[in-house]
Symmetry: C2
Subunit: 341 residues, 2 copies
């Protein structure tokens, strides 16, 4: 009735457990004839090795972990996460490694989650939403849990990083808007504690030469709308707004339209992340695609390499592509930028 064990298979094949194990793992040479008998017996009994027993004996869980500290409501509106996970899974699937996911709400819960991972739930983890000076870096190192950080970590660390150049596309976008005559360009950033939000905002300030029109949003539609309202109410209002993600950009664009501000004629709008809807809006939204799935694949590949003993390494994945679309496709309104150089 209950599941067959390796002993049942061994008995059926007329060999010992060790032989069955070696037949599968290849850690010892086993004659073709014996192997065939073993496989036949396993097939016959529909034996599937117990992953818990295997994990215990081999001291590896054959699983990688991701712990996410996020408000469920925010998670629901996150376009990055599912695509990233899909990439992770794509890489994992080939190796029969599982993904164990944990969404937590507090720092304490997050620490416990990582401890559980270290206690055998996972062999390594991928850390997302990296903060500047993130506490997890020393913490994970202390646990001795292999990890890869998604984002550029500045401090010293023996953990792998998967970096992305967030600055270049921002500069490129600003240049594009400048070329069209825009001089009053605003930026609705993400929370500046995140390394990627910060990198984008910094690149913006550097490109524009001023932080006057920078606002700190939180990636939600509501905040995109609110900051847009504030910016459009300025006496000398911006003629272009660059948002740190598409959710805020779409909300902002819709708000502007609902107030009778025409996009792109009176206001150019650009987002970040290239949400699947962005190309289908009216007008289609200019955005920067960041290929989260690819980053998931790279991060996972990196982690598996770490686990295989190929020491921690930092890799940079070049995956941002500026998608110019209708929302920035008009010259700057002349009455707002009469003396554009």
């Amino acid at each position: 009735m209950s599941r067959p064990t390796i002993s049942d298979v061994a008995r059926a094949a007329g060999v010992t457990k060790a032989t069955v194990s070696h037949a599968y793992s290849g850690h010892r040479p086993i004659s073709a004839a014996t192997k065939a008998r073993v496989f036949a017996a396993a097939e016959e009994l529909r034996w599937v090795p117990s992953s818990s027993a295997r994990a215990l004996a081999a001291r590896r869980a054959n699983a990688v972990g991701v712990v996410l500290r996020r408000d469920p409501a925010i998670l629901a509106s996150d376009t990055f996460f599912p695509a990233f996970i899909a990439g992770v899974e794509q890489t994992l699937a080939e190796r029969e490694v599982a993904l164990v996911l944990q969404v937590v709400g507090s720092r304490g819960a997050e620490e416990r989650a990582y401890q559980a991972m270290a206690a055998g739930r996972a062999d390594g983890v991928i850390a997302l939403d990296l903060h500047r000076d993130d506490w997890r870096v020393p913490f994970l190192a202390g646990l001795g849990l292999p990890a890869v950080l998604l984002g550029a970590y500045d401090g010293p660390t023996r953990l792998s990083c998967v970096r992305t150049d967030d600055a270049a596309p921002v500069a490129e976008l600003v240049a594009h808007l400048r070329a069209r005559g825009h001089t009053r360009i605003a930026h609705v950033a993400g929370p500046l504690g995140y390394v990627h939000s910060y990198a984008r905002a910094r690149a913006f300030v550097r490109a524009v030469g001023s932080r006057e029109l920078v606002r700190e949003g939180d990636f939600t539609a509501g905040s995109g709308r609110a900051h847009t309202a504030e910016l459009l109410a300025l006496r000398d209002r911006p003629t272009a707004i660059l948002y740190a993600n598409d959710t805020m950009a779409i909300a902002g664009m819709s708000y502007a339209q609902s107030r009778g501000v025409r996009v792109p004629d009176e206001l150019a709008v650009a987002g970040f992340d290239d949400d699947h809807l962005s190309a289908h809006l009216s007008p289609p939204l200019t955005s920067v695609s960041t290929d989260p799935a690819r980053r998931g694949r790279v991060a996972t590949t990196r982690l598996l390499a770490d686990l295989a003993g190929d020491g921690p390494r930092s890799v940079t994945v070049d995956c941002t592509v500026l998608q110019l679309r209708g929302s920035t496709d008009a010259p700057a309104p002349t009455h707002h930028a009469p003396d554009a150089r």
Copy 2:
């Protein structure tokens, strides 16, 4: 250097492994004094029980599984999945149970994934995207793997179901549009193999009395756009379109707008699932919120109950709320519905 084991704790506390185990599990009474010594020792050594050893000995993984068969690209644009997972995690977090997730691409891989779950990776699973006459139902039963199905399964089964009434909000929505004078109402459905898509489409046909204006989409923005284009090109084009999800609805609405069709004046549009962006569009999109997080919580609670021995049960969660917004907020165009009853 390596992690402390239960033996280390036992030695430090001057008791045996069994006592340590019982002190934590409570399966046997342990005196308060001894307990205190054990806990102190564990604390001191920073002992965290190995989850693989525990899984093996206790024959339970303390994990539940979700296997998703989906194209990564589709997953990326899925608004249901992250919210659902968030709900699952919310319920799991309280019990120290982990979630193991597997995204697969083929039937074979899916079967292997479930087998791995049954082989000790998870104690039970939640099956999403239920099809009519879904092969997984007998398959999971055959594996002896506890499972809860998200959706109404018609055939005989000893698995728990979490049902939702998809029909009622559709009928309500059609009634609303009728009241505004619409007589030519179209429906862009999801793949009809899915029980929920099918339920929505059937409710639509029943409410409208005809399947003439029903089209089968695939939940992507591209398909929403394509079907909208076809419908608007009809000689006697619809004055209202009801989409089976918001992604298609938003793409459809944007397409109409880009062709100069004013929403809602010339075309009323409604979606399903209440995407986080929907309320922020211009016009805001009428939709049916379905609270995926709540369904995640209910499904998980149900599964945990199953695991605790509270036999399979079917529960219905009443979570759909019609969100009437601007996209349906106009009387039907008179030249198209002159003789509306």
